[in-house]
Amino acid sequence: MRETILTELIQAFQQMARDIVHYLPRLVVMLIIALVGWLIAYLLKVLVRSSLRLTKFSKLSENAGATELLHQAALPSSTELVSRLVFWVAWFGFFLLGVSVLGIAGLQEYISEFFLFLPRLFVALVILFFGLVAATFFSRAVLLAAVNANFRSSRMLSTAVRIIIIIFAFSMAFEILGVAAETMLIAFATVFGAAMLALAIAFGLGGQDLARRFLQRKLEPNKEEKEDELSPL
């Protein structure tokens, strides 16, 4: 009995030693891959940061209104954020590559899913960035046009345009990522529809007089107003 226990114990230890000997090189390989990955990711981060600084990405981001959003959320600058994102994505990718060397059966599927997810993440980020650019551009264009047309609620109109475009960009990005795509779509449709309905009701019921005056001005322009404008040239 005692001998049997000892034999089993020795066998177990021998098996464990064999397993360790078997896994040790793989573990070393994983650590080497992770370390090299870290170095490559770091180099990539430096390279991306320099490229973004050279191309005045921060200016573009400022124009797009992204800098303001990041500032409000107490996040680092757009250049720093993008370079850090590149670092972590690259390093995590290398780390997972290293983990895959270990040959753990359950992890393989998740690792390949992660690599398939990367292009979608990139596309979603691009969509978000250009969505912000478009939101800033069109909201400013609306603001300027409304102010120059002497429209009283110019800021509100401009903000509404900005919010709608941002929601639209986010819903597209989430759809690309496959994260709560349906929820986002429904949320967008609800917000957009509600905004339009609110505007219609506000203009139709609350602004009857305004609508009347607006239409009168458009259809029966009176002489006095025509003479109101300066002749610039």
């Binding site: 124009n63 400013r140 603001l143 300027l144 109101d228 404008e229 300066l230 040239l233």
Partner: protein, 422 residues
């Protein structure tokens, strides 16, 4: 080269039939049937009276008129004028109309007229606005003679104006052109002007009409090209300026065509204007016109409201264009009442220069920068109206000179912020 791309076969055929001419009178039209008749009649009378021996062609470049403008131009016969005139033309007067596009494009229209001038080897091209209902036959002579007889290359007009008239011209375009390019041209964006064949050829050869500023404001582009190219520039006094579109003019569109083109011209001509200091008065022909009696009532309160609302609502946009101290000053004056309100000349000059620098650096979309200037222009116009309300010609002239002096004096400030990173 320009002719090949701009002039269609039919138009070319008509031009070839005309042969060479001495003077081309160009008209750029779009639905001007209401005003074109008297303008054509005055042009024809001017030709009969002042250029009976010269070969003259009227070229009408039309941007898709639907009201029969082109037919009116083509139908206009010299016989109508002969009946009333004692002078007879010794040459045939050709009148050609061409549709350069289905939609109006001032750049293309001017290019078409200039290309035709170049092809007809005309010595002089006189551009007349189809809206100039106040035109007199003598205008043609006043504009064309300096080019035709005295070898000038560009003749700009000087109009008799009302006190409140030409606020943009008198507060921005003239002082700015004068301080930047060193030439005291009162109307850098003239509705009427004359240009020599030499300048036409150079203008077309350089392809300026295809540049941003050439497309935006072809009239300004001609003036700037003449000054920068050291061509012989002069001015001629004409009569009262017509304002058929008063009250319905699109201020933003006008700003784009004039201020936008002027700002844009500064990018490619930096080497020239950065070394210019002071300004020179070009030769000026004719008798200075009297100030016209005021014919319109401007709502000053509305101007102030639009200025104040613009400064308040556009704050985020203005913050990116202007320095903090400038924005603070604007916010301070925007809070003033109608009786205390004043947008001083120096503050206005600095505002314009900061806009120029931001435009050059494309801080935001360039068209947005021009649009953001519109409410501030209204504020300055209010001060301009208030100052000139009871002034005589001399007072008005003195104030205009003071504004121009500020633009010239503060030019180093522009050069500084032009080069600075924001």
């Amino acid at each position: 080269m320009a002719e090949e791309t701009l002039l269609n076969d039919d138009f070319l055929r008509q031009l070839i039939n005309v042969g060479e001419v001495d003077i081309v009178v160009g008209l750029s039209t779009h639905n001007h049937a209401r005003t074109i008749g008297p303008v054509i009649a005055a042009i024809q009378a001017g030709i009969l009276k002042c250029f009976p021996r010269e070969r003259v062609a009227i070229i009408n470049a039309d941007g898709g008129s639907q009201d029969g403008t082109t037919e009116l131009v083509e139908r206009a016969s010299i016989d109508d004028v002969w009946r009333e005139s004692k002078v007879f033309a010794l040459r045939t007067l050709h009148s050609i109309s061409v549709r350069y596009d289905r939609t109006p494009d001032p750049g293309k229209a001017l290019q078409t007229i200039l290309a035709a001038t170049d092809l007809l080897r005309a010595k002089t091209c006189v551009l007349i606005s189809p809206e100039s209902t106040t035109i007199e036959p003598d205008w043609l002579q006043r504009l064309a003679r300096p080019v035709y007889d005295e070898n000038f290359d560009l003749v700009c007009p000087i109009y008799a104006r009302q006190r409140s008239d030409g606020a943009l011209m008198r507060n921005l375009l003239y002082p700015m052109t004068r301080s930047i390019y060193g030439c005291r041209i009162r109307e850098p964006y003239g509705s009427e002007f004359a240009i020599s064949g030499r300048l036409v050829t150079d203008f077309l050869a350089k392809g300026i009409s295809n540049d941003d500023w050439g497309r935006m404001g072809p009239e300004i582009a001609v003036t700037v090209t003449a000054i920068v190219g050291k061509y012989r520039v002069c001015q001629a006094f004409l009569g009262a300026k017509a304002h058929p579109g008063r009250g319905t003019q699109d201020v933003v569109g006008v700003m784009r065509r004039t201020v936008g083109a002027l700002f844009s011209s500064m990018d490619s001509n930096f080497g020239m204007w950065s070394v210019v200091s002071g300004s020179e008065l070009p030769p000026t022909f004719g008798k200075p016109p009297e100030i016209e009696p005021e014919g319109s009532r401007i709502n000053r309160k509305r101007l102030l409201d639009m200025f104040a609302a613009g400064v308040a609502q556009l704050e985020p946009v203005l913050r990116s264009i202007l320095s903090p101290s400038m924005l603070g000053e604007l916010q301070r004056i925007a809070a003033l009442g109608i009786n205390e309100f004043e947008y001083p000349a120096e503050l206005w000059t600095r505002t314009v220069f900061e806009f120029v620098a931001s435009y050059h650096k494309s801080i935001i979309n360039r068209d947005h920068i021009i649009q953001a200037l519109v409410p501030l222009y209204r504020g300055r116009s209010l001060t301009f109206l208030t100052e000139n309300r009871n002034g005589n010609g001399e007072n008005i002239e003195t104030r205009e000179e003071a504004l121009c002096a500020d633009f010239e004096r503060l030019k180093p400030y522009l050069l500084k912020i032009w080069a600075d990173g924001k």
